[in-house]
């Protein structure tokens, strides 16, 4: 899709977005509510017309095609199952519209229901299904026509938390087995990372960053990306030397040392420029013993929260700033609040953010 834009009543919802999907890829459009991700999805489905720009599928311009002529199917957040039809009739709906022969429709419906493990529910009505079952039927229905591109609008939005985690893996597994190219919309970074090959982070109708989940999580381009994907520590720093190979040497007073940090992009900040440096809490490590010889910082534990798999600490750095540390729970005794501890920084995980 190239330079797609759409406004509602003069308020731009999507501005100038260009995005490519590889065949068989699962891409997640991730962003806070109102960032334009659903509008973008609906433009690809043909349910909204872009004001500007064009949508291409396999090199063919489908921008002006009505939704019923596009080889694209959408799984709705509410599933939008037809209440007056049975599960089998819902799945068959698209095939019947395409006037496929009845025997083929029957075979395809059986195949699709087997794929989502709903064979025994053929004759049920949507109202007689649980949320998770409805989701499976909706998936089977949108895959039945073998779309070239499958769109999923907040696929887990209507499920409760526990079911959500289960279904994320299952759904991603089915999508990979079918090999269909997918674009899904979500506001949940975890969901995007579990299900997608690539994440396209959106903000205010524009793409903020596109990359694999690891790229976007580990190397956020800016403060928005860093904070949206998960908890992060941000520190002020000064560029000491703009060394070669895209590596800057940055002095971070809060972390008490100079660190080599990869530059955020092609435009490197010059020497003496002040920058923001980010590090994820799990890349900071607390130790009880005096590890100062190895470059650890003496800090004071300000608070802690036990979360089962890990414990989150708030620690006061020598300069007085607070940092969040995520310590894996390995059975070692916890650090008590108000006590000193030693903090080591995984320098390789530091990132300079673009402003």
């Amino acid at each position: 899709m190239a330079g797609v834009a759409r406004s509602f009543g003069g308020v731009p919802a999507v501005r100038d977005v260009s995005l490519d999907l590889a065949r068989g890829e699962i891409l997640a459009l991730l962003g806070p509510s109102g960032c334009g991700k659903s509008t973008l999805l609906r433009m690809v489905a043909g349910l909204e017309m872009p004001d500007r720009g064009a949508v291409f599928l396999d090199g063919e311009d489908i921008t002006r095609l009505p939704p019923y002529r596009r080889p694209v199917n959408l799984m709705f957040q509410s599933y939008a199952l037809f209440p007056h039809l049975t599960v089998a009739e819902n799945v068959a709906f698209g095939l019947r519209q395409a006037r496929r022969p009845p025997a083929e429709v029957e075979a395809r419906v059986t195949e699709m229901l087997a794929l989502v493990r709903m064979e025994s529910f053929r004759q049920r009505r949507p109202a007689q299904l649980s949320g998770g079952q409805q989701q499976r039927v909706a998936l089977a229905r949108s895959l039945a026509r073998s779309p070239k591109l499958l769109l999923l609008d907040e696929p887990m939005g209507a499920l409760d938390r526990k079911l959500r985690a289960e279904m994320q893996f299952e759904l991603a597994g089915i999508l990979r087995r079918v090999g269909v190219t997918c674009m899904l919309v979500t506001h949940d970074p975890e969901e995007a990372m579990v299900m997608a090959d690539r994440v396209a982070l959106m903000r205010d109708g524009e793409l903020a960053q596109v990359g694999t989940p690891a790229e976007v999580y580990d190397s956020p381009r800016d403060r928005f990306a860093a904070e949206f994907l998960g908890p992060v520590n941000l520190f002020g720093g000064t560029v000491v030397a703009g060394g070669g190979g895209g590596v800057l040497t940055v002095r971070v007073p809060d972390l008490g040392a100079e660190h080599p940090v990869p530059a955020p992009g092609p435009e490197q900040p010059g020497e003496g420029a002040s920058v923001t440096v980010a590090i994820r809490p799990e890349r900071l490590q607390l130790a009880a013993g005096d590890a100062a010889a190895r470059g650890a910082l003496a800090v004071e534990v300000a608070g802690r929260a036990f979360l089962g798999t890990h414990t989150v600490y708030r620690v006061r750095l020598p300069g007085g700033a607070l940092a969040t540390v995520q310590q894996p729970e390995d059975g070692s005794p916890p650090f008590e609040a108000g006590r000193p501890a030693y903090l080591t920084v995984d320098g390789a995980a530091l990132r300079v953010l673009a402003d």
Binding site: G46, P66, L81, F82, Q97, A127, G131, S142
Partner: protein, 270 residues
């Protein structure tokens, strides 16, 4: 207030509403020729009723007019409701809505009179009779159908239609295969309402009908002025039963549709 009092008040209210009809139904089984004197149980007047050609013909006419006008009102009213709810805030939408539903509050006597004047003006082309009854009943029933169907369409989940379009259904097939079946119970309910309104209309019918085309209400009303025959009680009892059956059917249809709809769409999947 004690429980005894609550029951008394309830009984009082209900008998105020229903006692006259119950009395009428009881007296339809009265042996006596005098409507107000009980002379033992009999179904004699039901037999007499079915031998009364004038009444039977009037009932047959009323039935045909009601079926025809309810059906045409259903088509017109549904189209109007779709226009009102689906075409966004088009120019003159409020005026269109007001004009459509005005017959709901328009005094019947005025509607009847104006239709009579219209049909008199058209008399060289349109003979007053069943056709004019059909047209007149369609005009007021359309307003009711529009209101019922528009209410249903307003709460209709548009994503169902989007899903149908997305699955390759043209707008026409989307309407036929998804919208219509989902709102079918509301359509049935609207049709039954229009049917009932037509069956028991007296005022407008007396204005627009012509010689030889007397509907049931007209025949009953004129026969009562000459003195009530117990036959009329029998007929009224049958009518009440028919209307109650129709109302219950319509209510069941609406309820079934709305629980099914709510379970899937409004409450959302759990």
């Amino acid at each position: 207030m004690s429980r005894r009092w609550q029951w008394l008040v309830l009984a009082g209210g209900l008998s105020f509403l229903w006692l006259p009809i119950v009395v009428l139904m009881v007296y339809s089984f009265n042996e006596s020729r005098l409507v107000t004197v009980w002379a033992g149980f009999s179904t004699r007047w039901y037999g007499e009723l079915f031998r009364d050609r004038q009444l039977i013909e009037a009932a047959w006419l009323s039935l045909r007019v009601a079926v025809l006008s309810a059906s045409s009102a259903l088509v017109l009213g549904t189209m109007a409701a779709v226009a009102l709810t689906r075409y966004g805030p088009f120019r003159g939408r409020a005026v269109f809505g007001a004009l459509l539903t005005a017959p709901l509050v328009m005094p019947e006597i005025i509607t009847g009179l104006s239709l009579l004047l219209l049909f008199v003006a058209l008399s060289p082309f349109v003979a007053r009779g069943m056709l004019t009854l059909w047209i007149a009943h369609t005009t007021f029933a359309t307003a009711y159908v529009t209101v019922v169907v528009a209410t249903r369409l307003a709460e209709f989940d548009r994503t169902l239609e989007e899903a149908a379009l997305d699955l390759g259904a043209t707008p026409f097939r989307t309407f036929r295969d998804v919208t219509l079946p989902v709102i079918a119970p509301a359509l049935l309910s609207a049709w039954l309402l229009a049917f009932t309104l037509s069956i028991d209309d007296l005022v407008i019918s007396s204005f627009v009908t012509g010689p030889g085309a007397s509907t049931l209400p007209i025949v009953i009303f004129s026969s009562v002025r000459l003195g009530v025959s117990p036959k009329v009680n029998a007929l009224a009892t049958l009518l009440v039963l028919a209307i109650v059956l129709g109302a219950v059917a319509s209510w069941l249809a609406m309820r079934r549709a709305s629980t099914r709809y709510r379970a899937v769409v409004v409450a959302g999947p759990k």
